[in-house]
Amino acid sequence: MDMTARHETAPLAARLRAPLARLQSIRKNFGPLVALDGVDLAVHAGEVVSLLGANGAGKTTAIGLLLGLLQPGSGSAALFGQAPGSIQARRRTGVMLQDGGVHGDLKVRELLRLTRSYYPRPRGLGDCVALAGLQGLLERRYDKLSGGQQRRVQFALAICGRPQLLFLDEPTTGLDIQARGQLWDAVRALVAEGCGVLLTTHYLEEAEALSDRVVVLDRGRVAAAGSVSDLRARVAQRRVRCVSSLDPATVSGWPQVLSAARDAGHLEIVVREAEPAVRRLLEADPALRELEVTRAGLADAFIHLTRAQDAA
């Protein structure tokens, strides 16, 4: 377990319940632009919370507030029960920002050595290399690495301090599939040790693969929050694919049909309930073939949730 745990007096259960990071009723404006409008968010030990949303939805602003890089207009932000930005809070936090912010002219070994020196109980160099997949890169200069390798170095810098709370702002942008899988494994290993993770991502499968909870932001407001399955259930959708001559415009007019489109020769419709739609499809087009019904992924749920906001 944690070496510092012995020095803390609060009962274990209470400490586990108290969130590591919390935003309460946060409002934040940049001039006339409202970046966050009444957002609540909490990250507990041992869980991954994913912040989903389009560009400009407020994800990076939320992380900036929790890191103390930004001050809220109103509402409160707390890290480990303290004001964000204090050195004590930062020593328990690991960070991977979207814009990198790494000295390009240092070697990977030097970057790790410097960043580890900021933390009281840093992870061993070998551990960092293994977790982030940096084998063979230690003596290379950061600016001579590929984009994916740089992202892995940034991940190593984020975890090298043995953080209890990890901020990952779009961590797998630019990674290939194998490197992405490796990073996911590393995040799961850290979470198993009790680390809390706040992740922002564009990749819905990433949120789906890693998160215990998902918070969907849309133009500064929480559009939805809950577990991946909660969120999916809230928008209980099925996706129906088939080869058919039916016109998507006609099909989208049917009751229960949320959307219909033609995709690579297939008719693809998203419906609330599959059975009535399938029955009607078969009646309308006897020649229909290759019928396929799947449960909608988080991507569909997410698109639907933000569209519902648009319509409102």
Binding site: M3, L67, G85, R90, T93, L97, D99, G101, E110, Y118
Partner: protein, 253 residues
């Protein structure tokens, strides 16, 4: 768990040393910074101070002038262009998010500027003593060295302010526009007495003039102004520009 060996003790000051060491290493790895910073003052001094004049008095005067010229370049470019580039790459933002002590990067940059100033000062002193025939008392050598190394501070502050105002490419341009005319108008390359009188009267406006006068006072070639006045002006310049830069950097998240 207690069987596990205690990790090495956490020494919070260790990161200041690493930060400064790596800052110097970064600058040394940047040929576009190292070559002009070290070559311009030494080559100019060799050409104008040693080869073209051939008398020890001129070589003395120019040792002081080119020393100040050299360290001013190291500080203005290292800070102005360096900080603007770091800011653009999100480096300062990440440092604020990491548990890096506030100001560690600033102290590191100051230490690197002082290291460059020390190198420039030693290079010029070597040229002066060997090829220029300059003979100074040990105390004079030391004072000149101190003036050069500590003299970076006001120019670090000015560079910091420039770096906080504009982006990386613009900072290089602004520093160039400031650097060369100021060196000339402060009498670092040639005595102001050879220029029209207006330049002499205008010279106290330039921070480089005051540091130049201090260095020239060491070798007995100054215009006779008060040491305290020069020190006071340099102190005020340092404080004002550091404060202005701090406000800018704090406002820009």
């Amino acid at each position: 768990m207690d069987a596990i060996a205690r990790p090495p003790r956490f020494l919070p000051w260790r990161c200041y040393l690493l930060e400064a060491g790596y800052e110097l290493l970064r600058q040394l790895r940047e040929p576009a910074f190292v070559l002009p910073t070290l070559l311009f003052p030494t080559a100019f001094y060799l050409l104008f101070g040693v080869m073209l004049t051939g008398n020890a008095a001129n070589a003395q005067y120019m040792l002081a002038g080119y020393g100040v010229f050299g360290i001013m370049g190291a500080a203005l470019f290292g800070f102005g262009a360096g900080i603007a580039a770091d800011r653009e790459r999100g480096l300062l933002r990440l440092k604020r998010a990491l548990p890096a002590p506030p100001g560690a990067w600033l102290l590191a940059k100051m230490a690197a500027a002082m290291a460059f100033a020390a190198i420039i000062s030693l290079l010029l002193a070597t040229l002066a003593a060997t090829l220029g025939g300059v003979a100074l008392a040990p105390g004079q050598w030391l004072l000149l060295f101190a003036a050069n190394v500590l003299g970076v501070l006001p120019f670090c502050a000015i560079g910091l302010y420039i770096g906080s105002l504009v982006g990386g490419n613009a900072a290089v341009a602004v520093v160039n526009i400031l650097f060369l005319p100021m060196a000339f108008l402060s009498g670092l390359w040639m005595p102001l007495s050879v220029l029209p009188d207006i330049f002499t009267r205008l010279s106290p406006v330039w921070p480089a003039y005051h540091l130049g006068q201090l260095a020239m006072k060491v070798v007995g070639h100054d215009a006779g102004g008060s040491t305290w006045l020069h020190l006071g002006v340099l102190g005020v310049v340092t404080a004002v520009f550091f404060m202005l830069a701090r406000r800018r950097l704090a406002a820009a998240a």
